[in-house]
Symmetry: C2
């Protein structure tokens, strides 16, 4: 199932809804490295301040569907490779939102001149995400043994995933 989505730059009035979405996502401790007890200030810095761009996805009725950020993955001579992070609202899972966010981010990354996109820590047990990124053109270039401390499963592997975009 696919649905109508408006993806646009983050604006200040989004934060009141974005923060609980990010907080609850990270609190699960099964997909992102962020400390599950991260403060609002720390999450805001990482998701809004630090990235080159942060976007939000909303339904036509205004419902928050998800968000992503775009930033260089490294400084200087590695700065042509970008990194993105995506979060989909629990109520909007399974509706193609992550696909739409990732496709949007790739187009935006090309506009910004990036030549490739890299995910540094894709939790191996998050098989739905791994398959989705593969479907969207990303390869697993390597697997880091026990690199993620899963809140329920303990130490699990994480993949480095990469997609050339030129």
């Amino acid at each position: 199932m696919s649905r109508e989505i408006l993806i646009r730059p983050f604006s200040e009035s989004d934060w009141v809804e974005l923060w609980p979405l990010l907080r609850d996502t990270f609190a699960d401790g099964d997909t992102y490295a962020f400390d599950p007890a991260s403060s609002e200030e720390a999450v805001r810095h990482a998701w809004i301040t630090l990235p080159q761009a942060t976007l939000v996805a909303r339904a036509p009725d205004g419902q928050l569907l998800g968000t992503y950020y775009l930033k260089p993955n490294q400084t200087g001579l590695g700065g042509h490779v970008c990194n993105c992070g995506y979060v989909v609202s629990p109520a909007a899972q399974g509706q193609g939102v992550a696909t739409r966010l990732c496709e949007h981010s790739q187009a935006l990354a090309r506009q910004h001149g990036f030549r490739a996109m890299q995910f540094n820590l894709v939790v191996a047990t998050n098989t739905r995400a791994v398959r989705l990124w593969q479907h969207l053109g990303f390869s697993i270039v390597g697997t880091l043994p026990d690199a993620f401390r899963h809140a329920r499963l303990g130490y699990v592997d994480a993949h480095v995933m990469y997609k050339p975009m030129v």
Copy 2:
């Protein structure tokens, strides 16, 4: 050839010599992602302020031989994997200094409770470094196509290297 080395925490009086060493190393644009024209402030932030620890290696006569930093490679649930960067003085190349720095960093990392060490962007054309890290127990877990913009060679591959330490 191996030589006597004293490895100890960075102190403020080291900076006057450390900055030119780091500046000239990054200016070559063949090993580190740092912008070859990085400002003193930016390099100091990255090498001294941000890391959990920064160390310097000196000969018994006081000559600066090299330096390394140690920091978590990721936040929170990825924070048990550390990252290090090493720089050896040109005059001290080929004397086992990098080996000593890396061995020292692994011991320090274990003391700090890290469970693995990861290098995110080992420039593939820097074959001497790749072989040295392999000799010291690191594996190439994956290769990122064209992830490094080499100052002389253009886009070249970079390896992700990793060593479990438990």
